[in-house]
């Protein structure tokens, strides 16, 4: 069966690579946009406790909505295609990044912050040299959770015409064509594992100081 799937890939090389590309692109975009929004938001939440409850509440409630439901809800607003799929995946990636950034920054000891400003560090230097490196292990771990979730869920993008590897899965299911289903499923699993490995490596590197 795997051999059949492999033959399908070699025969439809172009279609396959296009799907992989779309899948990876949409996942990375979703992650980047989510990080660009949620890292600053997490930092602000950690600094201004008034923001914490409303922002965290909002994103936590988004988290309980299944991704397929998000897609369906967004459908009437954004229509079908790449953009609504990207929006849904971005929403999905937000909570782990936001929460872990917040936790990472809250974990920085007040005495460390005080020492840093007492040495004459300005706010920018404090952020770059002290807070970010100290929060990094948790932040990367949040990014990892988000990445794996997004890569897996990007499969669903196909349901609303977003393309990607999910297309093979849907077609395979529809046609009772098991090999075709594998053409979609195996690379998705491989991508998720790859993300996990890369980000775990990064996390280990960033947390070196805690482990020695």
């Amino acid at each position: 069966m795997v051999a059949e799937a492999y033959r399908y890939i070699t025969e439809n090389r172009e279609r396959f690579w296009e799907a992989v590309q779309t899948h990876v692109t949409i996942s990375l975009y979703a992650l980047l946009i989510a990080a660009a929004i949620c890292i600053p938001l997490g930092v602000l939440c950690a600094k201004y406790s008034r923001l914490t409850a409303p922002v965290m509440g909002l994103f936590n409630s988004l988290r309980v909505i299944p991704s397929l439901a998000v897609l369906v809800i967004l459908l009437p607003i954004l229509g079908t295609g790449f953009t609504p799929a990207l929006a849904a995946l971005t929403l999905l990636a937000c909570p782990p990044i936001l929460i872990n950034t917040y936790l990472g920054f809250r974990k920085v000891e007040p005495s460390v912050r005080e020492a840093a400003s007492a040495m004459g560090m300005g706010a920018g230097r404090l952020l770059r040299r002290v807070e970010l490196p100290l929060a990094a292990p948790l932040m990367i771990s949040g990014l990892k959770t988000a990445a794996v979730e997004v890569v897996a869920s990007a499969t669903l993008a196909a349901f609303i015409g977003g393309g990607g590897l999910g297309t093979f899965i849907i077609n395979g299911l529809g046609l009772y064509n098991f090999p075709m289903l594998l053409v979609g499923a195996l690379p998705v699993a491989a991508l998720a594992v790859l993300m996990e490995l890369v980000l775990s490596g990064l996390e280990r590197y960033a947390s070196k100081f805690q482990r020695i």
């Binding site: 460390v112 020492a115 400003s117 004459g120």
Partner: protein
């Protein structure tokens, strides 16, 4: 006479929402090169007073000058780079190596690499950290070693003034005592002005040229250790310092303070122990008791006899305080 490193003028701090000020109308002058300890019970405002110097806390009223300049004249970050700061929880950066921690201020000041590296070596030697600890992270060090790094980091930018908030509070007695000795030696050598917070009476007395006793946000008394012991200004000070505790006094006085001149007719017996002129009377007494002698020879650094001590001389002398004090011009 030295100039003033620090001067507090009518400084008060009322925290928002607090009923009483944490520090009330404090005026204090700190001479350049002196070691001043702030002594008081918990909540007496020591930390608050200390943190107003580097503007981690802003006073509600009053002013503070550093070498004659109001500390508000400059941006806080710039002011802080010229003031060393050490705290009990060390506040070391856990993600930075010993070397990186120590070079924090030189880095901010933009020194070049080789100069920073040389400075780190110099400081590690000063605080007696072995060079092979350079690449270690704080969590790989003992509490005492971490505190040494904290002191080295505070001194890295060569600040004229060092603020220390119970830096040895969490250490065992032996480590604490040896760090105290080293800090004293460093301060004597470099002549920095130190403002040191502690709630430990013997630490305050051992380290301070001058001890400032705080209670309820005000200064009860500021003076030399001997003054506080012999002429406590208030009941609080009397209680805190144990009043006229003979042993404390013996610890503070040196052999040379009480020795009698050598003379031909008062030859010391062979059995008499000898003590250094700078030894405390307490250790002199210990020596005499141990040797069963009623006299001891006082010798100088070269081992030459310069005087003698008798048991009589260890008794409290009338009006000792009056004779021994007056080292400081009281500026309060």
């Amino acid at each position: 006479m030295n100039g003033l490193a620090l001067q507090f003028k009518g400084v008060s701090k009322l925290y928002p929402g607090a009923a009483d000020p944490a520090v009330r109308d404090v005026s204090l002058a700190v001479e350049e090169g002196s070691f001043v300890t702030l002594l008081g019970t918990s909540g007496s405002g020591k930390t608050t007073l200390l943190k107003m110097v580097n503007r981690i806390i802003e006073p509600t009223s009053g002013s503070i000058t550093l070498f004659g300049r109001d500390i508000r004249e400059r941006p806080a970050t710039e002011l802080r780079r010229g003031i060393g700061y050490v705290i009990q929880q060390t506040g070391l950066f856990p993600h930075m190596t010993v070397e990186q921690n120590i070079s924090t201020v030189p880095d901010i000041l933009g020194w070049d690499k080789s100069r920073v590296s040389a400075r780190v070596s110099e400081l590690m030697e000063l605080v007696r950290l072995p060079e092979d600890m350079r690449k270690r992270y704080p969590r790989q060090l003992s509490g005492g070693q971490q505190q040494r790094v904290g002191i080295a980091r505070a001194m890295a930018g060569d600040p004229k003034v060092l603020l220390m908030d119970e830096p040895f509070g969490a250490l065992d007695a032996i480590t604490r005592s040896s760090l105290q000795d080293e800090l004293l030696a460093i301060q004597r050598r470099l002549g920095r002005t130190v403002l040191f917070v502690t709630h430990d009476v013997s630490e305050a007395f051992k380290l301070g040229d001058r001890v400032v006793v705080m209670n309820g946000g005000v200064i009860e008394q500021a003076g030399t250790p001997l003054e506080l012991l012999t002429r406590p200004a208030t009941d609080f000070v009397r209680q805190l310092t144990g009043g006229d505790d003979l042993f404390q006094l013996l610890e503070l006085l040196k052999a040379e303070d009480r020795m009698l001149p050598l003379s031909a007719e008062s030859m010391l017996p062979e059995s008499a122990p000898s003590v250094q002129r700078t030894d405390s009377l307490k250790s002199a007494l210990e020596q005499m008791l141990r040797h069963g002698a009623s006299e001891a020879a006082v010798v100088n650094e070269q081992g030459e006899a310069v005087g003698r001590l008798t048991l009589d001389r260890l008794q409290p002398q009338p009006r000792e305080g009056g004779a021994d004090v007056g080292v400081f011009a009281e500026t309060l």
